[in-house]
Symmetry: none
Subunit: 123 residues, 4 copies
DNA sequence: GTGGTCTAGACCACC
DNA sequence: GTGGTCTAGACCACG
């Protein structure tokens, strides 16, 4: 499990963690029932507060990416490949709708938008 | 000039105002040297504080969308059509880079992303 | 008598007028007892409020550049060439002290400052 | 970090703060990543409103002198020595152009101006 | 009338 | 604890 924190980003740290861990789950990089490291360990490694890690874990559980067994730890939820794709699309579409609204609001046409995305998507 | 405030949005009010007014300027809906309504008037109409409007106006001036004449009011900056497009692209690209980063992080390929955008762009 | 107003300047209009008229007086471009045009005339020509012109005239009188004869108009004060130079230096030194304080505060050495002035003084 | 407020100055308080703190940064007196005191603390010490301090901090961040980590504090931006000089010159030239315009308007020649500066620059 | 500045005090998100 | 946002209300400079 890999997490990289950016202190200069405008995103809250707990959200950065949520996004990276959930991404690894929907991509299948973390197998079902994989035991996440204890929050205190994660906090130490990332040099952040335990509370911040807790908040990210809570969000992950709330969205169904992990489940908690009290006293034992947190584990990756068992998702079928199809469910994984569904969850990913949930995340994507939720954000995509807002984004498109913004770009349309600025008068950007569909071809213009796609052109810009091709340019900045990179590799 | 149209401004609609959403109190349920997670975006701060002043930013909602900034986005909507700047959008109308780059789209050419507000002509150069058009005199914006006094901040007190806008505040009353939107039922928000004068200071919140002022913060939006400040950001607009700061980004070069409007200019202020103390005692007279605030006016739409004179932008050449080319400058308008440039400013629009500034706003778009600034956000687009972050968005793409997010979608790539979720393992979305370029074709998948474009496909989803086509679907949700709508009319 | 020449006055040019800049609406984009951050200086108040009345101060722009004061600076330009006082400059013409200390440079001897306006002779002693020259009758300034009525404030209403100036206001019309510059397309500004009478009140603004009045404020500039008051400041000029306060600083001894002009004198008022009620019902007749405002006139350039009689200044000997030496007095003109003195008044000019008053204006210059008053501002210069503050400016130098600022530049010194930024750690600018005297040679650096002179070098920059040579560069930007232009013609 | 030292800040001295003058209530008799015609400059707004937030600008006085901005000038003094930015000066200390470009002079290298505040090291990169130095944590500025909390705005509430500064406000108490200077006996001014939190908001006034915040406005100064915002301007500092906006001009790239500091960066903010929400919940942690505000920190001096990491500037290379060359960047520090560049930023200083930005501040200097911005003001210098206006000043020179003023002195030229009063008929002051370049040698006269330099002579006066030498006299008043002091130590 | 306009915008510019400042105040005191509040609630929130984040850590 | 930190900064981020918003409020109501005041006084000033400018026109």
């Amino acid at each position: 499990m890999n997490i990289i924190i950016s202190n200069t980003s405008d995103k809250p740290i707990y959200q950065q963690i949520f996004e990276q861990v959930s991404a690894q789950i929907v991509k299948g990089e973390l197998e079902r029932d994989f035991c996440l490291p204890p929050i205190r360990t994660v906090a130490k490694q990332l040099r952040i507060s335990v509370i911040t890690v807790k908040k990210a874990w809570e969000e992950l559980e709330h969205r169904g990416f992990i489940y908690t067994m009290v006293g034992k730890g947190c584990f990756v939820a068992p998702l079928l490949p199809g469910e994984r794709a569904t969850k990913r699309d949930e995340l994507v579409v939720e954000k995509l709708k807002k984004d498109i609204e913004y770009y349309k609001g600025l008068g950007l046409t569909l071809p213009e938008l796609i052109e810009l995305i091709r340019r900045y998507y990179g590799s």
